[in-house]
Amino acid sequence: MKFAFYPGCVARGAAPELYKSTMMVVDKLGIELEEIEKAACTGAGVLQEKNQKLGDVLNVRTLALAEQMDLPIMTICSTCQGVISQANHRVVNDQEYLDEINEELAKEDLHYSGKTEVKHLLWILLEDIGVEPLQKMFNIDLSGFNFAPFYGCYLIRPSDALGMTKNPKRKHSLDIVIESTGAQSTDYAGKTRCCGFPILLINQKNSLKMVAKHTGDAKDSGADAMVTPCPLCHLNLDGYQAKARKQNKRGKADLPILHLPQLIGMAMGLDPKELGINKHLVSTANFIKSLKSKVA
């Protein structure tokens, strides 16, 4: 299967380990990727605050580029997935608006007719590959481990723009994938909440309260690590975990935060270091040790 690849800005910036682990994993999954090199940033909802139309034009442009390639888009970031899906949903239901945007795109000889499908790697694992075929690619049984899913707001809301009615399993996609590795999915309150990243630079106090609550609650519920399909969530939950938990008296930063492809890679038996797990700010040394003892 082939996809037009939209890695997003952070995978190329502050989370290069996401990009690398993705490439390692898709190879094994049999997914062929062709990067949409001309695509712009989605705007992450922030651009849209100031200029909704600009955000929509840039995202519909990305959709048009993929349509030109005659490929569905694969994303690896909840925020990218959400923002592009919202733009897609908006124009598919408003022909007048789509015509307006196509006028802009015409200047670049681009045109969007509303046909592009956008899927996060997480959904591709579930829907295009399937749980059983995926499990056949796993070499390591992760049972005994407990992973806390953290979806990232834009991967699960708003449900009508994310195809949840047609594909209700998407609501629990991360739980399902975690469980497919043999591990348990932690039951804790924060899995569908906000990580606080959007207000990190605006109201850091509240942002860190969120990080402390979700990582603290996950740890208290028995999680060995947290898994997230969004690198922005990762930046906050990993990068600011130490400060957050200290400030909010939730102990030390002892909950490793993993990117989704890293989890898949580990289950496939790929080297954790290669997957970039040692690059995270919250130490994963202990986790890697217990993983190695599983293999041994």
């Binding site: 910036g13 922030v46 100031k50 509240n206 969120m210």
Partner: protein, 319 residues
């Protein structure tokens, strides 16, 4: 059909502990969860307390958590939630103190409502009505549809960590006045909403938009008011700097320049903030996670930046 409902009980007269009670009730195929709860209350357990009135999704009384997320139970069908007869968990709304069973206090809700001066501030013209376009009035229909049920407040992830946040319901209501052409205080309203606990504390998680039974879309109103506040000249917030910086990034590179964003949002004169940022920056540097000086740009970058430039100017013209 049999509806299996697990209700979170709490009776302060008996104990401070909450507990779950299982009920099984026989109801019609198209029954709502409210129908079921009323039947339980009327036939099986008179001690169950809940608020309900109109049964037609207009009074806003019956908002409660169904399988973890707030809904108006008068318009939520049993079959919709549990197509195969699964147990439905019903709990009181989140982010509110519970009075008893499914009844929460609403004082915090009403006081936040009051804090935004919820009445049109206009000069009284007893002779005739204010002239206003139909568009401007129908535009307000969206927010006027709010029945003050509290579902958005129940699921607000910002309120969960900070109860001083004004919250989605009160802020959506504030928009109703800001956007009312007859209200003469839009500017000062926006000024107040621009401050602490106001529009910039929303974490843009879409939870309120997702659960609102009336499509009021509180988050979108909040975001709109951020925009309006900036237009009115309220630019002394990190929120403003954040949005501006992001915009500039796209105009310049077509992609996000994370480093610049972090610096500019913090504020180039904010020494403590910058030192803080530097700490994370250094840690990231050592792990090879510091974003490159020049962000990875899209191919044919100029195509993107020209669109951004053009639409940004268009936006400015419209202002």
């Amino acid at each position: 059909m049999e509806a299996l409902i697990k209700v979170k009980r709490y009776n302060p007269e008996e104990s401070e502990d909450t507990y779950f009670q299982d009920y099984s009730v026989d109801v019609a195929e198209d029954s709502t969860i409210l129908d079921s709860l009323i039947k339980i209350r009327e036939e099986q357990d008179g001690t169950l307390s809940l608020r309900c009135s109109c049964r037609a999704s207009i009074c806003g009384s019956c908002s409660m958590r169904v399988n973890g997320s707030a809904k108006l139970v008068c318009k939520t069908r049993v079959k919709e939630i549990s197509p195969d007869g699964e147990i439905i968990t019903v709990e009181p709304m989140g982010n509110f103190k519970v009075i008893k069973d499914l009844v929460t206090e609403m004082d915090s809700f009403w006081s936040k409502m009051k804090s935004i001066d919820p009445y049109v501030k206009t000069s009284f013209e007893p002779e005739a009505e204010h002239i206003a376009s139909n568009e401007s009035m129908t535009h307000l229909l969206g927010v006027m549809n709010c029945i003050m049920c509290g579902a958005c407040v129940s699921e607000c992830t910002a309120l969960e960590v900070d109860s001083t946040f004004t919250g989605p319901a009160a802020l959506a209501k504030a928009y109703r006045f800001v956007a009312d052409p007859r209200d003469e205080e839009a500017n000062s309203r926006l000024g107040k909403l621009n401050e602490n606990t106001g529009v910039w504390d929303c974490t843009r998680c879409l939870a309120c938009v997702e659960v609102c039974p009336k499509d009021v879309a509180p988050m979108e109103r909040i975001v709109k008011m951020r925009d309006l506040a900036i237009e009115e000249g309220y630019t002394n917030t990190s929120g403003y700097r954040h949005t501006e910086s992001f915009n500039d990034s796209i105009k310049k590179h077509g992609r996000l320049d994370e480093t610049r964003l972090a610096l500019e949002s913090t504020g180039l004169l904010n020494i403590t903030g910058l030192i803080d940022l530097a700490k994370i920056g250094i840690k990231s540097l050592f792990r090879g996670k510091l974003p490159p000086i020049l962000p990875h740009r899209p191919k044919d970058m100029k195509k993107v930046t020209s669109i951004a430039e053009r639409l940004d100017n268009q936006g400015k013209e419209e202002e």
